[in-house]
Symmetry: C2
Subunit: 225 residues, 2 copies
């Protein structure tokens, strides 16, 4: 059966023909944190229905956004990872995520609402300018709303690790709403006022640097009009 299309000669329409269906962009978000197995995706995307996930992966594979990779013998499992074209979607997802933080976070986290710190850290990672981090080697552990993920900056390369790492330069503990203020406001929030909702354990200078890196990027992506 032919694929459904908006049939419009327009960059946005053609993007949405590929990634506009339900769950697709969330699968991309998951894979922005690194390669994952099928069951990892099922776990993270609560409610997706395994058949639909298989269908989506197949499409993303055909369209060249996701590639299947087979891990060497010890692991012997297969994982899915983004291709370069898939990774470039990060630049498009970040502003959408920021829009959501600005306009849909008046209501706090619901009791049954899922959360994984890596979702947040993936976008933080995408906000960091690789060029500005050449020569740097930092590992930042984030603990957000009872979930954890780490951000590793390695000479211009930025990587996200779900959960806890054991060699972090600094541990930042806070909640998503507080962190969102850093990513969505034009002015960096007053650190003193925020202090009771954000604690830094370890090299304070590293944490400071992170917030500066984020601030630099924000300046280039102020809302238009």
């Amino acid at each position: 059966m032919a694929r459904r299309s908006y049939n419009q000669y327009c960059g946005l329409s053609r993007s949405l023909d590929l990634v506009g269906e339900r769950w697709t962009l969330l699968i991309v978000r998951e894979l922005l944190a690194g390669p994952k197995r099928y069951s990892d995706l099922v776990d993270a995307l609560d409610g997706i229905g395994t058949n639909l996930l298989a269908t989506r992966i197949k499409q993303l594979d055909q369209d060249g956004l996701v590639a299947r990779r087979y891990l060497p013998p010890p692991a012997a499992s297969q994982v899915y990872e983004l291709t370069p074209a898939g990774r470039e979607l990060a630049a498009a997802l970040v502003p959408l995520a920021i829009w959501g933080l600005r306009h849909r976070f008046d209501e706090p986290r619901r009791r049954d609402e899922n959360y994984r710190a890596e979702w947040t850290v993936v976008f933080l990672a995408a906000l960091i300018d690789p060029v500005a981090t050449t020569g740097m080697h930092l590992v930042i552990q984030l603990r957000l709303d009872d979930s954890a993920a780490a951000l590793a900056i390695d000479d211009g390369r930025v990587a996200v690790t779900p959960g806890e790492v054991d060699h972090a330069d600094v541990v930042v503990t806070t909640d998503l709403r507080t962190l969102a203020e850093f990513a969505t406001r034009d002015q960096a929030p007053d650190l003193a006022k925020v202090a009771e909702r954000l604690t830094v354990d370890g090299d304070m200078a590293v944490a400071q640097l992170l917030f500066e890196l984020l601030a630099d990027r924000r300046a280039g992506s102020t809302p238009v009009w």
Copy 2:
């Protein structure tokens, strides 16, 4: 009945809960070109089905992204327009559109594929830094693939007009693929090589300025990772 939700405490998921359904972002794109009537939307969004359009508009209205406005007596019709929150989605749609231009324009325009120059010009408009245009008053007529739209820059305010205007400072005639090179490449394309596919009629300096304004914005939105 309750609205379907991904049920994730994540900026992206919450955005998609609101605007992730089919046609929604294209309705927003249409309204970025200015207020439109119901029938204008039906015309522009070929294939949408009027009942679905009505449903989407109702949702966008409830969610505070779109407002209904009643034109004064002479016209006596109602139009839909974006609220400030809705307009801020432009910043999120531009990178998605650029991704589509980069990765989905290997195949050219199909014979039956719809096209409206305003779709393109809306994104051009969003790429222009308002601050950089303070004091400027320019009207640029674009003619792209047999469709026309104009871009008016008015002291930091940018507006799109579908069709032809009669007082343009310059008329740029080209096709979307050529124009896309300006918006998607890191280097501005060689004007000499492009000359046969792009003609400028009127104040050449104004056209030059437009491309410089676009180039400035591109520099701040290079792909991450």
